[in-house]
Amino acid sequence: MKLKTLTAAVVAAGLLVTSVPALADLNFPMLSYRTGAYGANGAQFADGYADYFTLLNERDGGIGGVKAVTPECETGYKTDKGVECYESTKGDGALVYQPLSTGITYQLIPKVTQDNIPMHTMGYGRTSAANGKVFSNVFNYPANYWDAASVIVKHLSDVEKGDLKGKKITLVYHNSAYGKEPIRTLEELSKKHGFELKLLPVDHPGQEQKSQWLQIRRERPDFVIMYGWGVMNQVAIKEAANIRFPMENFVGVWWSGSENDVIPAGEGANGYKAVTFHGVGADYPIFKDIAKHVKDAGKAAGDGSNIGKVLYNRGMYAALLAAEAAATAQKMHDTKDITSAQMRDGMENLKIDEARMTELGLPGFGPEINVTCENHGGPGLAAIQQWDAKAEQWKLITEFVESDREIIDALIAEDSAAYAKENKIEDQDCSKG
C-alpha cells in the first residue's frame, strides 16, 4: 500500500508541475506542434513566433519594458492535446492563444470566451469569427480562408484579363473541416464570375492522389486551386508536375505554399503559386536584428535553419501582431502588466500602418491593419507568391489586393448568425467605441 501511495503522490505531483513564469512577465503561450504528420510545418511557425519575442526581449527589453515569455506546449496538431495545453497554460496569465489548428480553434472558441482570453487564429480557424459582434474574443485578422479563395479567383481573373466565364476551375482539398472551408465561397464566386467549379477531395494523409490527378489530367481544367496540408501538398505538387499541368495555373492557399511543399518536387514545382497575407524571404531589415540578437547569440528557438522561410515569417508576423496588440493594450489601460481582458481590448483596437511596419523593420511585409469591434477579420488583403525553383525562393508577384467583400461579408454574417442562434449568443455592444 505504501508503494501505491507513494506512486500516487509522485503522479499527482507530476501532474501539478507546470511551468510557472515570473508573474510580471507577459505570457504568450504557444500551442505548437513539432511532432506528428504536420510537425515539419509546425516547427517553423513556432520558431518564428518564439524568435520574435526573444528579439524584443534582447533588443528592446521586452514590450513596454516588460519581458515576454513564450511557454511552449506541444499539441501534435491533436485537438485533445490542444485542450490540455490550453487548460495547463491559461492559469499562468496567458494573454493570447494561437491554437494553430482549425480543430483546436473550434474547441477553444467557447472556452476563451468564457475565460475572457483572446484567441488569434491568423489565416485559419473559424472564418466567421471575423464578425466581432458574435465572436467577442476571437480574432482572425489579417485575412481568412474565404479571403484566400476570393483573392485567388481575383488573381486568376486578372490572368484571364477579367473574364473567367466558361473557365473550368478545380478545387483539390484536404478532406477535413479545414479543406471544406472555401467551398461555399468558391460556389458563390462561380455563380458571379460564371466559371465551372469542380471539387476533388483528398483523404488524410494524402500520399496517394493518382485518382485525383488522373482526373485532372483527363478533364484539363484551366486552373487548379489547392487547400492542402502536410504531405498532401508535396504529393499534389509532384503529381501536378508529373502530368505536366502548367504550374502557373496551379494556386495553393497559404498553408500549401511553404518551402516544405515545393522542394520535394524539385524543378517541377517551378512557377507554382500560392496566396499569402505577408511578405516572403529574408530581405527585410528585421532579419539583421534577428541574426544579431537571436541567432548569433545562441537564443534561437530552433537550429536557426528556418529563419526567413514562409512559415517562420508567418510565426514571426503572428508574434509581431500580438506584441503590437499588447503595446496597444498597455497604452489604452495605462499599465505595463496587462491582463488577458486588456489584451483583448488591445487586439480589438490594433492599428498598424505602413510607417509602423517600416519602423519595425518589415516595410511592405503586410497590409495595413485596422481592427475594430465589429470587424475582427482585418482588411482581408492578400497577395500571390510564386516559387522560383532555381533560386529556391518564393517571390511576391502581386500587390496585396482586397477580397470580394460583397460575397464574403454576406457569408460571414450568415454563418455567425447561425452560430449565435445555436449558442444563444447576444451581439456584443460595439457602440461605445
Partner: protein
C-alpha cells in the same frame, strides 16, 4: 477506340502501379508474419526510419544533432560532406541489421510463446519507439529523397497512345509515372530474389522450416534467434526499398509511416502468409480502389479510396476467411 475506354485502361494501369507500391509495404509484413507469427505493425515506421537514415547518410547529417545541441549547447548539424547513394544504402542496411539484432536481444527473445495479440502490441510499442527515435536522430523536418530514380509522366507512352483514340476525339494519350514503373520493376526483382533466397540457400530453407513449425525446426538444430534476426533484417531491407520508393514520391517525413495503413487491406486480401498473395492482393486493391473512385467515387462525393480498399478486402474475406492465398483454416474438435 473511344477515349472513355482508353481512360478505363489508363485507370487500371495506374491502379496496377499503385497496387505494387502497396505490395512493397505488405511484403515486409508477410515476411515477418510467416517466419515468426508476429503481425508487425511497425513495418511502416521501419520504412520511415530506413528512409530517414538513408537521407541522413546521403546529406551527411549528424545524428542526434538536436539532442546534442540542446544538452551541450553546441551547434553541430552536418559532417561537411555526405556519402554517395550506394554507400549510403549499404550503411543504412547495416543500421537495419544492427536494429534487428538489438530488437532480438532486448525484446523478442523474451517474448517467445506469447499470444499473437501481445506480440502485435509489442510491435506497436516498437512503432512508437522508432517514430520518436527516428525524429530524435534525424530531425522532424521534411527531407528530399533523391537516389537518382527518374520520375514524371512518360512521354513515350503518351505519344504512342495518342493515336489510339478514334478520330476527332480530344485525347491526350495515356499517362503513367516512370517512378511507378521503376517501382514495379524493383518489386518484381525483390520478389524473385526473395523466392530464390528461400528456395536455394541454406538460410532460406531454415526460414521455411521455421515458418512451417517452430518447434520442429528447433529440434533439427535451427537457431530460432538467428532466424529471427535474419528475418527482421530482411524485413528491414524491404522497408528500406519501400521507404526509398515512397520517399521519392512524397518526400521523407512522418506521414511515410502511415503507408502501413494502405498495406493492411492488401494483407488481408492476399493472406498473411503468402508472398505472391501480397503482390496479387496489392494489384487487386490498387485496381479496385482506382476503378471505384473513377466510376462511382464522383457520384458519392469522392475520397472513397481509403475505405473502399478495406470494404473490398472485407468482401473477399466473406468468401475466403483466410485471404486469397492464406492457408486454409481447418477446424477440429
Amino acid at each position: 477506340m473511344s477515349p472513355d475506354f482508353l481512360n478505363v485502361i489508363e485507370v487500371i494501369l495506374n491502379g496496377l502501379m499503385a497496387g505494387i507500391m502497396y505490395s512493397l509495404v505488405a511484403l515486409g509484413f508477410v515476411l515477418i508474419f510467416k517466419a515468426s507469427g508476429i503481425f508487425n505493425y511497425a513495418q511502416g515506421v521501419m520504412a520511415l526510419f530506413a528512409a530517414l537514415t538513408l537521407v541522413g547518410f546521403q546529406t551527411g547529417q549528424v545524428p542526434f544533432a538536436h539532442l546534442i545541441n540542446a544538452t551541450f549547447g553546441t551547434d553541430v548539424h552536418h559532417w561537411g560532406s555526405g556519402m554517395n547513394t550506394f554507400l549510403a544504402i549499404l550503411c543504412t542496411m547495416a543500421v537495419m541489421i544492427l536494429f534487428a539484432w538489438l530488437l532480438e536481444r532486448i525484446v523478442l527473445r523474451h517474448m517467445v510463446n506469447q499470444a499473437p495479440i501481445i506480440l502485435f502490441m509489442t510491435t506497436i510499442g516498437l512503432a512508437y519507439f522508432m517514430e520518436g527515435f527516428g525524429d530524435l536522430m534525424w530531425g522532424a523536418d521534411i527531407k528530399n529523397m533523391d537516389v537518382g530514380l527518374p520520375s514524371g509522366g512518360s512521354f513515350w507512352l503518351e505519344d504512342v497512345t495518342k493515336g489510339w483514340a478514334s478520330e476527332g476525339s480530344e485525347y491526350y494519350g495515356m499517362y503513367i509515372d516512370v517512378l511507378d514503373v521503376w517501382a514495379a520493376g524493383i518489386a518484381i526483382l525483390l520478389v524473385i530474389s526473395l523466392t530464390l533466397f528461400s528456395q536455394y540457400t541454406k538460410t532460406g530453407r531454415a526460414l521455411r522450416a521455421v515458418a512451417d513449425d517452430h518447434q520442429a525446426a528447433m529440434t533439427v538444430g535451427i537457431s530460432l534467434r538467428s532466424i529471427w534476426i535474419i528475418v527482421w533484417s530482411i524485413a528491414g531491407f524491404v522497408a528500406l526499398v519501400a521507404g526509398i520508393m515512397w520517399g521519392s514520391k512524397s518526400g521523407v517525413q512522418f506521414s511515410l509511416s502511415l503507408i502501413a495503413l494502405k498495406a493492411l487491406p492488401v494483407l488481408i486480401l492476399g493472406g498473411f502468409t503468402s508472398i505472391p498473395g501480397a503482390i496479387i492482393g496489392g494489384l487487386i486493391i490498387g485496381i479496385g480502389e482506382k476503378l471505384f473512385e473513377y466510376s462511382l467515387g464522383g457520384m458519392i462525393g469522392g475520397a472513397t479510396e481509403n475505405w473502399f480498399a478495406y470494404v473490398l478486402a472485407l468482401a473477399f474475406l466473406m468468401f475466403r476467411p483466410q485471404g486469397l492465398f492464406g492457408e486454409k483454416i481447418i477446424e477440429r474438435v
